[in-house]
Symmetry: C2
Subunit: 303 residues, 2 copies
């Protein structure tokens, strides 16, 4: 088993959807990613929390094979995001973002983390992504995510990141902002010309487009009849993606990236079935296998 | 080879997209459907045109195995639609609709049409759809499309149509309007409870969701890097769908409907590559086979 390292946000989120509202629930890209990827492999988390961080949340992560040694605690409040979804569950509307302890975060990796094989730079300031990446000795595969805010405010640093990652995993809106191209198929190709060897464009309820080695791999999402809260779906997609690669000890090959996408897609489908981490935190390997089998029935085009 | 009958609009459209503008170009659901389905089988068209209808357009249809005996010519102008697409190619914005000769259209089927095996009631007034259906003796498979306008203005007639069709083919926005449910997966199930044995929800660049026999079949669209004009994509989807069933002489079975969806999906992907019928009118069977082979590479999940 290979180890995965993730750096990203650890947060308390307040989320409203047409299905209800939750206040200050556990969230953040690093948490969603870890809960998904730890189903497959050992996960080392790098992030920062405030003095309001709940010990139960820490214990929950530990109980799922997540190493929290790289989680710094600082005086002040944990990062807070408040957002809402209207009937179109594909688009989150940000109401408020409080950086709090994240504002002065300077990630220092515990020695034990520096040999991680698979590295995921979740959505944070691209300068922090570069900082973390420099501390890792010989990563086998590096992935990253980003968001519109960094695309517009720190484009130069982001371009540096793109040159250093193997796979970029972003959503359709971000692909559009990054390339200026509204066509996702064309945007995927353009992103690979910026540095990454591969790109996975996440399309929410519509699945994903992967482009690598001059080839496309495109599939729909697993059908979910009641989407409760899409928050974290993209991060758990990345978690399933890297989890699969770490478990199988595979590097960059088109056929393994394809399987990684399918795992990402399935993990994301669990996340949207509950508020925050409620659903993903209790998913078992048996659940994944069962859903995989159902997914194959839904997309079986030659039977 | 079985015969297909389609009733729908025959139009001259004015279309603007970010790629340019065309004025009074051949369009209408019956034309798009016929150009796609005639690649597979003989197609009988029922519709109405004005005295401005261009003889070259008629000849073009005839040259593609489309029987135009059921195309009535009436004094006045042909139906006209003007619409535009902005960067989001998934949504047409209607600028103007002139019903013209369509306003007093009373479809009467030539005797030779009454034994058609496959019937597609393209998007027109549901009362006209019922009128046409009553004139057909023993159709093997009946499909229909509709639009938001009829869903809100003629819901009762539309409900009658739904009870008489085997398969409804509509887009996501229409599925939402028909059921009040924003979730496409749930909406598909609800539509089948209204009468149709199966439903295909078209998702534009994202492909389709089919639901029938208590099972889902979901695939993405064929990737097109430059979408010129999405007008008619849904109608050519239906054309490929019914064309495949007519060619193979198959009825309502889940596995054949799956293959029909794939053909629909591919035919639609040609349509969006040109303005109006420009691209679909010159597609050959070799083009379809070549694209099919490429499509299977893009969705190949087990290799």
């Amino acid at each position: 088993m290979s180890e995965i390292l993730v750096v990203g946000s650890v947060a308390y989120d307040t989320i409203s959807t047409p299905n209800g509202k939750v206040e200050k629930t556990l969230g953040g890209s690093a948490n969603y990613f870890s809960l998904a990827s730890s189903l497959y492999s050992k996960v080392n988390v790098v992030g920062v929390v405030g003095d309001d961080y709940n010990i139960d949340d820490l214990e929950m992560l530990k109980s799922r094979k997540v190493c929290v040694e790289g989680l710094q605690q600082m005086p002040g409040k944990t990062f807070h995001w408040e957002g809402k979804y209207e009937f179109d569950m594909n688009e989150a509307i940000t109401i408020e973002t409080q950086l709090n302890v994240f504002e002065s975060f300077d990630p220092t990796l515990p020695d034990g983390y520096k040999n991680s094989d698979y590295v995921f730079l979740a959505n944070i300031d691209p300068n922090l992504q570069l900082n973390v990446l420099e501390q890792i000795k010989e990563p086998r595969l590096v992935g990253a995510d980003t968001m519109n805010f960094w695309i517009s405010s720190k484009k130069d640093s982001l371009k540096e990141v793109l040159k250093k990652v193997d796979v970029l995993l972003i959503n359709e809106g971000e692909a559009r902002d990054l390339t200026g191209n509204w066509n996702t198929i064309a945007a995927a190709r353009e992103i690979c010309a910026m540095g990454p060897k591969g790109v996975v464009i996440k399309r929410g309820e519509y699945g994903f487009v992967m482009y690598a080695d001059g080839q496309y791999f495109i599939l729909p999402a697993f059908p979910v009849e009641t989407v409760i809260d899409p928050t974290g779906a993209g991060d758990t997609f990345a978690g399933g993606f890297f989890g699969y690669l770490a478990k199988t000890k595979e590097g960059f090959s088109f056929s393994h990236l394809k399987q990684a996408c399918i795992h990402g897609c399935l993990l994301a489908s669990f996340t949207v079935e509950g508020f925050g981490v409620e659903s993903i935190k209790s998913v078992s390997w048996t659940d994944v296998e069962k859903r995989m089998s159902n997914y194959y029935k839904v997309i079986a085009y030659n039977s």
